[in-house]
Symmetry: C2
Subunit: 210 residues, 2 copies
């Protein structure tokens, strides 16, 4: 194994600290070889039984993108309607997706019961399959951040509707719809924190002992 | 944002490539400040709505550890009994957990419906909460690998039974039971691949276009 130096560990810590859920993108595209390299890197993620359940879908078609944006708008309006008072006012002020500006859209789906991996490690915890795909997304996110590429994970969508829009096997699970592109600005704190929605809780860093 | 150099990106790629699910550990403990630092780093992971739903439990008690090992043995015997022929023979030869040797055990649980984050981003995809905890585990795993510390994720366990053994709030979701310590050996390919269980599939690196 290569020896990872303390300098590298410190830079890795900075990467974790600066990785953001990006909602503001520049419009210029990421060069294809860079994007392809990032998607290949994502596949180095851990997966239960080496099942590699992730399935990436690049969404380029303007009509499909418009339909995804429409679904987001509807789900976001529903979420706002469920809130009242200052909570609703604050929610309405948030920018929760970069769907309009991001030059690349990537949907990430997961095979719920892959042959690959031969079921190992899944008998009592079948969710580990989906969780493997989550780690592939996180791997992509970190590699992208290191390359100066921003990623925004949109979850305010109706998964069944998105799968229909993308015309993918309905048996696949939609895990994420990602906006990808160069970020318009950088900040060391999450946007939700800067806008007063929520703060990190120091006690989450503590643990109980048993 | 710090500029992450191509050199750093290459090292990050090596980190992804060398991160292993470790099942063979040395017995010497990881210094407490190192382990504490890694757990703190894990909390830099993304979380939906900044909900930070992860809850770490350090498992030190010998009786509890023995009960966890017993649960693993039982679940693993059940998984073996469900297999036949060469599949069963191959399964039986795998070493699937380092519970006996690993000097540290860390259970990772997730709050299923946290107040923190105020529900943002969860209305249509509530699983994003658990997935945030998965990314915290992955962050821990990567930071540990960079520090020379190995992590093995044990999923061949009964989550309800493990929660009872650990005497934690049954409403919390058990996401992972981690073995942590210095690895006894390093390899650039997964143990499941070296032992002929499964191989990476190059087509997982490809994507469809829509």
């Amino acid at each position: 194994m290569p020896a990872f130096s303390p300098v590298f560990s410190n830079q890795l810590h900075e990467l974790f600290r600066w990785r953001r859920d990006v909602r503001h993108f520049r419009c210029d595209p990421v060069p294809e070889p860079v994007l392809e390299g990032l998607l290949a890197t994502a596949c180095l993620a851990p997966s239960v039984g080496l099942s590699e359940p992730w399935r990436f879908v690049r969404v380029d078609d303007a009509d499909r993108r418009a339909a995804v944006r429409e679904d987001f708008s509807q789900c976001n309006a529903d979420a706002l309607a469920d809130r009242a008072g200052t909570d609703a006012q604050r929610y309405a002020r948030l920018k929760l997706a970069g769907l309009d500006d991001a030059p690349h859209h990537v949907a990430v789906l997961s095979h719920p019961d892959p042959v690959q991996g031969r079921g190992l490690g899944r008998a009592t915890m079948p969710q580990t399959t989906t969780w493997s795909t989550v780690m592939a997304i996180h791997t992509f996110w970190l590699a992208a951040t290191a390359a100066g590429v921003g990623v925004g994970w949109v979850s305010i969508i109706n998964p069944a509707r998105i799968k229909a829009i993308l015309d993918v096997d309905p048996a696949l699970e939609l895990v994420a719809y990602l906006c990808v592109g160069y970020p318009d600005g950088h900040a060391p704190t999450p946007e939700l924190e800067r806008r007063g929605w929520e703060q990190r809780a120091p006690e989450r860093r503590e643990w109980v002992r048993r």
